[in-house]
């Protein structure tokens, strides 16, 4: 078991216990790239169909079905088109993709080659956030190894299929995780989102059909193709099938990344997988899907199952699976202040409701610091947030507005108290 993949318990971290698995030979000895080789004997349309049947949903945050997204792509295999892997991972609290690729870059590359064959893309890029320098180097080394084996480049394994793959480093901008902003950034421009439609699948990078998928989505493809869609659906629920990586941080004893079936309870994640609450403190709230997801109070958090539908039924979202656990010692006003400072800084500035709105939201807390905020500022926060939602090119405005309204809903009294208490330095 030591040197072979554990496909039984994991679809994504199957190889993670194997020492040195970033090396292609060790990866292959453990079963890596076998699925890719088998897939070249399959009809590309059949691969697309299998991924669609698996019900895999985009793991970057939006949760849109990967197979359906692939269905929007042109079937003309000769048309010039691109496959982009979104490894920007900038949603605060998220570090799952980093954990996945820094130990096992080849699972992503294998997933990308299979996906490229299915989609008929001739070139691909892994867009990785600038901060992940060492991870970018690891991916580049892994890509070199795959080229040397003939798994990338011209006429792969004599199948008459060409696929060139490269790593593209970002340079520190949250918004580049949004797929159209990512495309702008890859084009050598400011990372500003573009109006959809046209969707990138139709008109994306350099105006050509472009498929953008998250690291975790692409890395799930080899497992799905090896064991089939039906086997993948043994995990999770009908609408949220499969396993998911969760990044857990905050007030737990063992923060880190876990892979568990979707619909695992948040209670089990905290108490079993993360060793319980730090210092034995009481739970106060949980940010379930990155900083843009509305906070759950303790009661909701202990009742929720971590799948797309159940988290939504509690008024929040599964997002990227970034769980931030907050205990009774935390002040929700402070958490919101940190959150809004971030969105204000990261707004790209194109759309007025976002550029001005994030500034006004953040401004309430700046005013607090000078002792000039009042209780009515909480109502103002709510009003600004409400007027930002659904008014902009991308979802950054919503990403700032949703947690604001979430904290107002669950912790209004505490927030009112916070904005009116100044700790002048």
């Amino acid at each position: 078991m030591k040197d072979v993949a554990n496909f039984k318990d994991y679809a994504l971290l199957s190889y993670h216990h194997i020492q040195g698995v970033h090396n292609i030979d060790i990866f292959e000895r453990a079963g890596g790239y076998e699925t890719m080789k088998a897939c070249f004997d399959k009809d590309p349309e059949a691969i697309k169909e299998e991924v669609k049947l698996s019900g895999l949903r985009g793991r970057g945050g939006a949760g849109f079905a990967t197979g359906v997204k692939w269905g929007f792509f042109t079937k003309d295999r000769n048309a010039k088109k691109y496959l982009l892997c979104n490894a920007d991972e900038s949603e605060p609290g998220t570090f799952k993709d980093r954990y996945l690729v820094e130990k096992n870059p080849h699972i992503l590359i294998e997933g990308m080659i299979i996906s490229a064959w299915a989609l008929g893309t001739q070139r691909g890029y892994i867009y990785i956030r600038g901060e992940f320098y060492q991870q970018a180097v690891m991916l580049e080394n892994a890509i070199k190894e795959a080229y040397a084996k003939g798994y990338l480049g011209k006429n792969i394994l004599g199948k008459g299929f060409d696929f060139e793959l490269a790593v593209h480093r970002g340079a520190g901008a949250y918004i580049c995780g949004e797929e159209t902003a990512l495309i702008s950034s890859l084009e050598g421009k400011k990372g500003q989102p573009k109006l959809k439609p046209p969707f990138p699948a139709i008109k994306g990078y350099r105006g050509l059909p472009t498929m953008v998928n998250n690291v975790e989505s692409l890395a799930a493809v080899p497992w799905i193709m090896k064991f089939g869609a039906a086997a993948y659906k043994q995990w999770g629920t009908e609408k949220s099938p499969g396993t998911k990586l969760f990044s857990i941080s905050g007030d737990v004893n063992k923060p880190g990344v876990i892979e568990v079936p979707l619909s695992t309870t948040l209670k089990d994640i905290i108490e079993i997988h993360c060793g319980g609450m730090r210092n034995g403190n009481k739970l106060k709230g949980v940010i379930p899907g990155g900083s843009s997801s509305p906070i759950l109070n303790a009661e909701e958090a202990y009742a929720v199952k971590m799948d797309y539908e159940d988290v939504a039924s509690k008024g929040s979202m599964l997002g990227s699976g970034a769980i931030i656990v907050l205990d009774e010692t935390r002040n929700m006003g402070e958490v919101l202040k940190w959150t809004l400072e971030f969105y204000h800084h990261e707004s790209c500035g194109q759309c007025t409701p976002c550029r001005e709105g994030t500034g006004w939201l953040d401004g309430v807390f700046k005013r607090r610091d000078t002792g000039k905020a009042s209780k009515s500022d909480v109502a103002l926060l709510d009003k600004i947030a409400a007027s930002m939602r659904g008014q902009t090119i991308c979802a950054l405005a919503d990403a700032a507005a949703m947690p604001t309204q979430g904290i107002i809903k669950s912790f209004r009294d505490e927030l009112e108290q916070y904005v009116t208490t100044t700790t002048k330095k």
């Binding site: 609290g93 400011k190 990372g191 971030f342």
Partner: protein, 162 residues
């Protein structure tokens, strides 16, 4: 800050890297971010004469390059020290003192955002989520993550830098 007489060109090795970078893309513009990373690695920051050099090399207007540099937090249009240290101040890191550590480091090195310390050793940059929340609070020292820091351990680490 930078004088127009200053000269910049890629070293021979970096020129090779530049040429290799271009082969990765179907157009020259797409290579801009990696080329800026390369230039910054060589020069430390991206003053106007470096921008002019890249503009001529890639045939991209300087204004477009400056626009890109100003958009991204990791491209510097001001001089930075030999070592750039990014301290995370997002939720998980702030919960464990990331902000106090950043303020403490500024005080210790008697500097402010990005301004090189007097000995030219350290530039401090307050950063948003660095994607390493399991080791909160964390910082990046040049290209490496250092996690579970305290103000004292961060100072000790940075004092070791060349």
């Amino acid at each position: 800050m930078s004088s127009t007489t200053e000269k910049f060109e890629f070293t021979a090795a970096n020129m090779e890297k530049y040429k290799e970078l271009l082969t990765r893309y179907d157009d020259v513009e797409s290579a801009l971010l990696p080329v800026l990373h390369l230039a910054q690695e060589q020069n430390g920051w991206l003053p106007p004469h470096v921008v002019n050099y890249i503009s001529n090399l890639m045939n991209i207007p300087t204004i477009k390059i400056k626009e890109v540099i100003s958009f991204y937090d990791m491209f510097y249009d001001v001089p930075v020290a030999r070592n750039v240290v990014q301290v995370c101040t997002n939720i998980s890191c702030s919960m464990f003192g990331g902000r106090e550590i950043y303020q403490g480091l500024l005080k210790h090195f008697d500097t402010d955002y990005l301004t090189p310390s007097r000995d030219g050793r350290v530039s401090l940059q307050k950063m948003e989520c660095l994607g390493a929340c399991e080791i909160a609070p964390c910082m990046r020292v040049n290209n490496d993550f250092v996690g579970n820091i305290t103000l004292a351990s961060a100072i000790a680490k940075l004092e070791e830098l060349p």
